[in-house]
């Protein structure tokens, strides 16, 4: 995201500072971490993939972060969520909380599964990863409001969102909701598991927030043409 501080503008100060941009030259390529990508034989590759491989032999490659693994259990969405939950650089604690959340969800669902009758068993989803991904999907907003100035006044204009922005908003809402709106004495993993299960069933506060945002966007539909991009 660009940050421009128009107050301190001197002729030599760049108007746009690199606040959260990557320091890498765009010449560098992303690393390929998955094991399957390397075990495919020559014959299976299409022409483009062969070109990409040739390119990778010549260009420099960025260093992989600490949290990326070539393990089969690696999940980029989950890693992002853990990074967002992390405070003061305590990745171990954030990861621990996430693991406890997943286990908690699994435990509740497996208990329900074993107690359910034969007919109900198919409807119960026991996989915590599926629940996590589905819950995040259910929480993602489709449109959001942006404050656009026109003729001296600021209007709330509904704008489309990119995939990354939607994912970020869903995760952010989930985490803030668990941190603030729940009882002080419950553990984070307990709060998170309750909220994720509710979001999976399309209930709960985060879904409510998403619906309210959609309603506001619908109400301000008239200003949609103020958007110029």
């Amino acid at each position: 995201m660009a940050a421009s501080i128009s107050g301190l503008l001197k002729p030599w100060t760049p108007r746009v500072l690199l606040v959260r941009w990557s320091r890498y030259n765009p010449y560098y390529l992303e690393p390929e971490v998955r094991k399957e990508a390397y075990s495919r034989p020559e014959s299976e590759l299409s022409a483009e993939e062969k070109e990409e491989r040739e390119l990778k032999k010549l260009r420099p490659i960025k260093a992989a972060t600490n949290s990326t693994t070539s393990s089969v259990f690696n999940d980029p969405v989950l890693s992002k969520f853990i990074n967002m939950m992390m405070e003061h650089g305590q990745k171990t604690l954030a990861r621990e909380i996430m693991m406890q959340t997943l286990e908690n969800i699994k435990r509740k669902q497996v208990e329900k599964y074993h107690k359910a009758t034969e007919g109900q068993k198919d409807g119960i989803e026991c996989n915590p990863y599926v629940i996590f991904h589905q819950a995040l999907e259910n929480c993602k907003p489709v449109v959001a409001l942006a404050s656009i100035q026109k003729g001296g006044k600021y209007y709330q204009v509904p704008i489309p969102l990119t995939g990354h922005r939607r994912r970020f908003l869903a995760m952010k809402w989930m985490i803030t909701e668990c941190r603030e709106n729940k009882h002080r004495r419950t553990h984070m993993y307990e709060k998170l598991s309750q909220e994720l299960l509710a979001a999976f069933e399309k209930e709960g506060n985060v879904i409510k927030k998403k619906h309210e945002l959609h309603k506001m966007a619908e109400a301000n539909r008239a200003y949609a043409h103020y958007r110029w991009w």
């Binding site: 089969v72 693991m99 997943l102 497996v110 599964y113 996989n127 990863y129």
Partner: protein, 380 residues
């Protein structure tokens, strides 16, 4: 047992669940028939043998179900039959009970299943009708003591009423049917007005301890003394099994402090003192099965797991001679069986964990350690 495989701080609630498991399960087991011959095909990792007395080498690596009805999450309880427990059970079957009691010590690296082997052995003793004196964790008696009273019996010792009452309650539930049968041989005086006469049953003594919290530690001492005296006699019809988890706590250091901030030696605690008397093999007619544990121990380095290191000099000298039984990590067959059990119970949910690659990765990550494997599968 899913929830029972936990470690460290989770071992306390684990072992307490074992207690409640015992309490609910054993009452029903009294009526249950030992072996159910079921002709249907037995799955590779499960066995239908519910009686630990019939477990033998061919059952190694298989899970047997305890017949108690309800357990959280899986709706059943299963323990894996493993070599160390089988060894101790075979010794118990062949031992001569007119000789002084034999001491068995389970030792091993952290998380290899020592407590579970102890539970298996205790289950065996219970099904054979022995009187089981089970201390779920001796470390709890030497740390985090909320109330410390000076003992009424000897002025230099200290009482712990809370721990003593919890233990007495559990003892009562596990050994319900023994309590009216055993009669006391001596007279015990608690206060000027209260005393228990010789000839009254053990049940009354235990009730006395539960109701009068202040004298509960002395009651525990009295119970242990009575059982020790009576178990070897030709007239007694029961065998005594003493099962202590974390026996290195009895000879270690404690974190309890007196009012003038000096540390209390475990010897000065009535509970520990009486338990140490039980650990000596001067009585006959039973067996002592114990476990060493580094996870709850105080002032012990993490790498220590051998009996010499954990018991210390005093402990080793008083426990000597004992039969050490090493509890190793899972063998491949046991790992396979545990993996299949989790698959069957729908515990391994991640789609990748069910593939060959995922399995190899799990083996690599946990290095065949049972507790690490359980923790990994928790979130996969």
């Amino acid at each position: 047992i899913m929830s029972l495989h936990r470690l460290a701080f989770r071992l306390r609630p684990t072992v307490i669940q074992v207690r409640s498991l015992h309490s609910s399960g054993y009452v029903q087991q009294q009526e249950a028939v030992a072996v159910e011959p079921e002709p249907e095909s037995v799955s590779v990792f499960r066995t239908h043998e519910k009686d630990p007395a019939c477990h033998s080498d061919k059952h190694v690596g298989q899970f047997y179900t305890l017949s108690s009805a309800h357990m959280k999450t899986f709706n059943e309880t299963c323990i894996m039959v493993r070599q160390p427990a089988l060894e101790v059970i075979s010794y118990l079957k062949k031992a001569d009970y007119s000789q002084p009691a034999l001491r068995y010590v389970f030792y091993g690296v952290k998380g290899t299943g020592k407590t579970m082997s102890l539970c298996h052995t205790v289950h065996f003793c219970y099904t054979q009708g022995w009187l089981v004196l089970h201390v779920p964790d001796a470390h709890l008696w030497v740390k985090n003591c909320k109330e410390l009273l000076p003992s009424s019996y000897k002025s230099s010792r200290f009482d712990q009423p809370l721990e003593a009452t919890t233990w007495l309650r559990n003892f009562k539930i596990t050994n319900e049917h023994f309590l009216p049968r055993i009669k006391l041989k001596e007279r015990y005086v608690w206060t000027k007005r209260e005393s228990t006469e010789a000839g009254s049953s053990l049940g009354e003594l235990v009730d006395q301890g539960i109701s009068r919290v202040k004298s509960s530690s002395d009651v525990v001492g009295a119970v242990m003394k009575e059982l020790r005296l009576q178990s070897g006699q030709p007239g007694s019809d029961f065998r005594l099994a003493v099962a202590v988890d974390g026996v290195n706590a009895l000879w270690g250091r404690s974190t309890i402090k007196k009012e003038d901030k000096t540390t209390v030696d475990p010897e000065e605690l009535t509970l520990v003192y009486n338990l140490r008397k039980l650990m000596k093999n001067d009585w006959s007619g039973g067996a002592i099965v114990t476990t060493l544990s580094q996870t709850g121990s105080l002032y012990c380095p993490k790498s220590a797991y051998l009996p010499q290191d954990l018991l210390g000099e005093r402990g080793f000298d008083s426990m000597d001679p004992f039969i050490p039984v090493s509890v190793p990590n899972y063998s491949e067959k046991e790992f396979e069986s545990c993996y299949l059990y989790y698959m069957d119970r729908n515990w391994l949910q991640h789609p990748q964990s069910r593939t060959e690659e995922g399995k190899k990765e799990l083996i690599f990550l946990c290095n065949m350690n049972p507790s690490m494997f359980e923790r990994l599968c928790g979130y996969l």
